[in-house]
């Protein structure tokens, strides 16, 4: 069953990799090489073989295995038995699975809505050259250094209703059962997930914001544009490509988010945080219903591919040219 976790995990981010044109760096560094020049000397296609083999062995084949397993009944012992579409019918009609899908979509939208604006603002702020900004940046990046498991355990201890933060500071309003009440658990998780990943996305935006030529801002200044209007008319449009990258990563990352939730709530209370990856795990490794777990795994993989594909198409990935031309 590890195949399904790997299958879904490894295959889902694939579109993110796909949209990176393998020849982009070569073309970018030698702009005079002709954009669509036929017969231009380039790296041999054979160089891609090891990576493709790796991808086939660890992503494609397990993914196919999961698809096959989703039509079988298997409890981990004995031999899998083919049972047709029974698993699919059962899982798709299961309110727990439907709830998982709902929660996953909700979590995806919420993380995107919270993380994107904060990361852009932080990233643009950190792109400045002042010394204190560099110092603050170091602090912001700290969460990037911690493993998800460690973060989960630490926050679980901090949010403990009896022996957590509230008790340490004597603040009674903090003494809530953050991870144990259906209405509170999801927002609490959302907070931790954002805490974990905003630094990473800020880093992307910081890099991108530093690439914006100063000349653009100088020109705008001469035209009498203020701080806010330069942000909306220069910075944001210039960050467009990074916004696409960052949101693809966020969406795909949330679709497969598992470790933090597993450690902090285990899907509870009730099924309030039983998102799809967790649902898959619990079905597979707790109930040993490998067939049903595979169904959930396939749905996650398809959903991830679909969303990434849509995002690429809608954002006009194919004609993603430099925004600086003509500047």
């Amino acid at each position: 069953m590890s195949t399904s976790t790997h299958g879904a995990g490894a295959s889902a981010p694939a579109p993110a990799a796909e949209r990176v044109d393998p020849t982009a760096s070569w073309r970018g560094s030698r702009p005079r090489g002709g954009r669509n020049g036929v017969g231009t000397p380039g790296p041999s296609v054979w160089l891609a073989v090891p990576a493709l083999l790796f991808f086939a062995f660890f992503a494609i084949i397990p993914l196919l295995g999961v698809v096959v397993l989703s039509f079988m009944q298997w409890d981990g012992l004995g031999t899998p038995v083919f049972i047709g579409a029974d698993n699919w019918i059962r899982v798709l009609a299961d309110p727990v699975a439907q709830n998982g899908l709902k929660l996953t979509l909700l979590l995806t939208v919420a993380t995107l809505a919270i993380q994107m604006p904060i990361s852009i603002l932080l990233g643009v702020f950190m792109a400045g050259t002042q010394k204190y900004r560099a110092f603050l940046s170091v602090l912001y990046f700290l969460p990037l250094l911690f493993s998800a498991a460690a973060v989960g355990i630490a926050f679980k201890a901090l949010m403990d209703p009896n022996f957590g933060l509230g008790r340490a500071f004597g603040l009674d309003w903090l003494n809530k059962d953050w991870l144990g009440r259906p209405g509170l658990a999801m927002p609490a998780l959302l907070f931790v997930i954002c805490w974990c990943f905003i630094p990473f996305h800020s880093l992307l935006y910081q890099g991108a914001a530093r690439q914006i030529p100063v000349t653009l801002y100088e020109a705008a200044k001469i035209d009498g544009a203020g701080r806010i209007s330069t942000f909306f008319h220069i910075t944001l449009p210039q960050l467009r490509n990074t916004i696409i990258t960052s949101s693809t990563l966020q969406i795909v990352g949330t679709l497969t988010s598992f470790d933090l939730i597993f450690i902090m709530t285990g899907g509870g209370p009730g099924d309030a945080t039983r998102v799809m990856p967790l649902d898959m795990y619990l079905r597979g490794f707790r109930a040993y219903d490998m067939g049903a777990a595979s169904v959930v795994g396939v749905v996650i993989a398809v959903l991830g591919l679909l969303i990434s594909f849509l995002l690429n198409t809608l954002s006009g990935n194919t004609k993603m040219d430099s925004q600086m031309e003509g500047a």
């Binding site: 069953m1 590890s2 976790t5 790997h6 995990g9 490894a10 981010p13 694939a14 993110a16 990799a17 949209r19 990176v20 044109d21 982009a24 760096s25 970018g28 409890d75 981990g76 012992l77 004995g78 727990v96 998800a148 498991a149 403990d160 209703p161 009896n162 003494n175 059962d177 953050w178 991870l179 144990g180 259906p182 658990a185 990473f200 890099g207 991108a208 690439q211 490509n241 990258t245 990563l249 795909v252 497969t256 598992f258 470790d259 597993f262 709530t265 285990g266 509870g268 209370p269 009730g270 099924d271 990856p277 619990l282 079905r283 490794f285 707790r286 109930a287 040993y288 430099s322 600086m324």
Partner: protein
Amino acid sequence: MMRTRMAVVGAVTATTLALAACGGGAQPSGPAGATGGGGGGQAGANGFSAWVLTGATQTTMKNSLEQWTQAHADAPATAEYFANDSYKEKIRTAVGSGNAPTLIWSWAGGTLKDYVKNKNVVDLTASTKTLQDRIVPSVMETGKVDGKVYAVPNNNAQPVLMYTNKEVLSKAGINAAPKTYAELLDQVQKLKSAGVDTPIALAGQSLWPELMWIEYLVDRQAGDQLFKKIANGDPSAWDDPAMIDGLTKIQELVKAGAFGDKYGSVTADSGADAALIHTGRSAMMLQGAWVYGTFLTDAPDFVKAGKLGWAPFPTIDGGKGDPSNVYGNPSNFWSVSASATPAQQQAAIKYLNEGMFNDNYLNDLVAGGMVPVTSDAQSKFTGEQKEFLTYAFDMTKNAKNFQLSWDQALSPAQSQAILQNLGQIFLNQITPQQFVSAVKAVK
């Protein structure tokens, strides 16, 4: 240039993400710190291998297997140690694929039945006769499937009982643990008005401590036959009025604030429920006998001062259940893998008969606050542990029925459905009737 930068960042992050996703998924099932007598965990041609659980009885097992290897260099024991959850995830696929260790650790019950059905373990009825004669009979029963022994106990009896903080009880003017369910409700009220917000400590996030409540409530109301029917595959037993009654009582307790309002994120693995007792924030806790070891290590002064009390689960007025009936884990068990070679099986069986429950073994268990499952164990109880161990031992020995907890006795799919729905009963999200129909549907 921007494109170059983005390409690199994109590629790197995509890879990281892929790795992170794999890591996240693989982590819980990875082996937890493999150490062992002979290392590697692979059985020698004439020796045997064992996967041992970390935690309470790890020292006992480690010492025993190492001493065995020293004395039997020609048939050495190799051991690997796993944490509870990672073990449970790994063992099933290992057994299913024929890669199991020679000795398979289990809780017997539903999993053992699956092993027997798939011929993964060997019949030990005749070969471990010497050992069986020493084991408390109510415990030995759990290792049998269709009257044949497929698993033998290897550590301590783990009956579930009611722990109390005597100090908190007496502050609310209560002298003894509740004897009946009505008394329990009454004491909850008294504790509440004495300012105890969480009269009963409950590790709600772990779910299985919630199971102990319904197990005992149903047993006290209807007797042990009701669950035996369920375990034997009769789903109509779920419809018994005692089941609805027990679930209703749980919701009654929840509404009365018996568990406070902060039990949903408390976990038992971290000992957070026991901490509520020894820090004086709760008065009662329904938990397994193994938690006594937690009290010994986490709050030795609390135990020494005699503030920790214990009692059986209260009876229900008019209930049919025998008050001596006990729920819990009768013990952990060893089975012998059918995929091991005959020589390896022989070596393992020899260890089961001769290597276990000797003086060192018993002393190690008792020192950790554990109740060994051999009939002759009582003479070993000494010191401050004596009172509790004697109590738990008598509880095990005198039980008319020592029932393996539901989540171990039933199939994994059934127990997951029960735990999931029971969690919702405690949250008042579903009615007892909804619980019954949801659980009944799962085979």
